[in-house]
């Protein structure tokens, strides 16, 4: 199937409205071995997909096969195993490029994940552009990984970190965001989809606002890629950070998309093997992007495995998968909303993949442990988004997050489990 290239904001709405042929969730579930196991006689209900997604058999098999039959280091090997590994590694880069519709494969830098991607931008582009008295703008919605690197950068450079507020539904106040931009603003960093509330941020509007004032935009796309078609050219962003393990690939691998002209002017991130053209003790010339930013032996199997996960997605009815997921989120919101004493946190009009809630005085960790005894895995806590928790004046939420292999039965089991929690504490 070809990659859907519709714009993110529009497609989220479109997915909501028209429902095409039903997505074959049963056959998809058969591809994920972990979903077919039982604990204490109960089948696993896995609703922690925003933390990490499960892996299809093809990815698991690939990792085994790579280490059993193909393992070798990439680049500069002149024997066939190394040539094959290099080709597969670079092939994965091309797959990722096409998946997010980047203009050029050299715009894809392999990293350990979204966090490292953002740190890379802060350490290189950030240090190059942000100086004493300059300003960086984030939002109240961000995951800590899109706050802390900017905080560290600002502290080191003597710059100021500003943040745009969210409203009580969990939408970023775009007018406030625009109002924060001054002639000292050097960069805006913002999530595409909130990991704690599920809010889909209208990135094209953000980019329009920012670019109107010549401010570059870094997107934390960790939670968007699994739920929405992402087209970086259509979004118009300057950087887009994401992780492999949140899109059914291995952990420890991710990527940074960066506009080539920006990557080209950026200094290296880490020093080491591979990222150079020539080294003497007097002078070092650095390789061109993306190699400049990939010092040392990368996670080769992970990168190729990331590519295999993308192959899996491309072979799926991806539009059907996204529709199914959206239907699940709707169904979950309706089902949980019927439970007395349950409050849904985050009610933005456009949401993807995440449903946060609380049960009044009952601590979310107690909810999580009781649900685990029903073999239901959700995440509880502050979700590395303490400013969001502070906005709602709560210490934590319980968060169910979905992938296309989840079913309405999973949500019914969740609702039953939540009622059990309420009964226990009554």
């Amino acid at each position: 199937m070809s990659l859907p290239t519709v714009s993110t904001e529009k497609s989220a709405a479109a997915i909501n409205e028209d429902r095409p042929t039903p997505f074959d969730v049963k056959s998809v579930r058969a591809d994920f071995p972990i979903l077919n196991q039982e604990a204490a006689g109960k089948s696993l209900v896995y609703l922690d997909n925003a933390a990490t997604t499960q892996k299809p058999q093809s990815v698991i098999d690939y990792l085994n096969r790579y280490y059993a039959l193909q393992n070798s280091n990439i680049h500069r090997g002149v024997y066939r195993l190394s040539e094959a590994a290099t080709e597969a590694y670079e092939g994965a880069r091309h797959k990722i490029q096409r998946f997010i519709n980047a203009a050029d494969h050299r715009e894809i830098v392999f990293t350990r994940g979204t966090t490292e991607s953002i740190n890379l931008v802060a350490e290189t582009f950030g240090k190059m552009r942000v100086g004493q008295g300059d300003e960086v703008v984030v939002t109240e919605l961000e995951h800590h990984s899109n706050i802390v690197p900017w905080y560290l950068l600002c502290r080191e450079q003597g710059a100021v970190l500003r943040h745009a507020p969210i409203d009580d539904r969990g939408d970023v106040d775009l007018d406030a965001l625009e109002g924060l931009i001054t002639d000292r603003t050097r960069l805006i960093a913002i999530a595409h989809v909130s990991n704690s509330l599920g809010t889909v941020v209208p990135i094209r509007n953000v980019v329009d606002i920012a670019h109107g004032k010549e401010v570059p935009v870094v997107i934390d796309g960790a939670q968007a890629l699994p739920h929405l078609p992402v087209d970086v050219q259509d979004l118009g962003c300057d950087f887009y950070a994401f992780s492999g393990h949140k899109v059914f690939g291995p952990t420890g691998i991710g990527a940074l998309y960066g506009r080539y002209d920006l990557l080209k002017e950026m200094p290296p991130y880490q020093g080491g093997g591979s990222m150079i053209q020539k080294v003497t003790f007097d002078e070092i010339t650095f390789a061109d992007p993306p190699t400049r930013f990939e010092a040392g032996t990368p996670d080769i199997a992970g990168a190729i495995g990331f590519g295999v996960a993308i192959d899996y997605l491309n072979a799926l009815d991806l539009e059907g998968a996204f529709n199914h997921e959206h239907d699940l989120l709707d169904y979950a919101a309706r089902t949980l909303d019927e439970i007395d004493g349950l409050r849904i946190i985050g009610t933005a009009e456009h949401k993807a993949g995440v449903l946060s809630f609380d049960l009044g005085d009952i601590h979310p960790h107690d909810i999580g442990t009781i649900l685990d005894q029903e073999s239901i895995a959700i995440r509880t806590g502050h979700h590395c988004a303490q400013p969001v928790m502070a906005h709602y004046d709560i210490p934590a939420t319980a968060r169910a997050s979905f992938a296309f292999y989840n079913t309405r039965e999973d949500i019914d089991r969740l609702a039953l489990g939540v009622r059990k929690v309420l009964d226990l504490f009554r």
Partner: protein, 152 residues
């Protein structure tokens, strides 16, 4: 029969709902605040010593059901005990919640927490009040579960 692995037993739920000794003690011999960053549990433990004996002990604060119930049970059990007996009870409790003690010991208020052994992260919830009491007895004013090691 009661499933000893079940965490949210009636005893725990009851102590969570109606915590015993939930108050501050004016002029306590020792007071400490304990904090568990995982759940955000935060409790103050107040203790009054008479010679070698705990004359009065109480707590206040907020957190998850396991931490609150454990604090309540603790205050209930250590009142009137000597410092040595209290230390022994803490050791016993630690053995129970980390799984070093078997599940077939005498049933009791401490044993009701045995189920947390399957959840190493929640062991800290169960032992928070005990660590805080220990801090108060040693003249420290605060402790966190980050500083205490309950399992190797």
């Amino acid at each position: 029969m009661l499933d000893r692995r079940e965490i949210y037993q009636q005893l725990l739920l009851d102590h969570n709902r109606h915590p015993r000794n939930y108050r501050a003690i004016e002029g306590a011999t020792g007071t400490a605040e304990g904090y568990n960053p995982l759940c955000g549990d935060r409790y103050s433990v107040y203790v009054t010593i008479d010679g070698d004996r705990i004359d009065d002990v109480a707590f206040r604060g907020a957190g998850c059901a396991i931490s609150k119930a454990s604090a309540s049970v603790m205050t209930h059990l250590v009142r009137g005990k000597t410092l040595g007996e209290t230390e022994k009870l803490f050791d016993e409790f630690r053995q129970i919640v980390t799984g070093k003690a078997g599940l077939c010991g005498e049933p009791g208020d401490l044993a009701a927490f045995a189920g947390v052994r399957d959840y190493p992260s929640r062991v800290k919830c169960a032992t928070l009040a005990w660590h805080t009491l220990k801090a108060a007895l040693e003249g420290r004013t605060e402790t966190t579960t980050e500083q205490s090691i309950d399992h190797d």
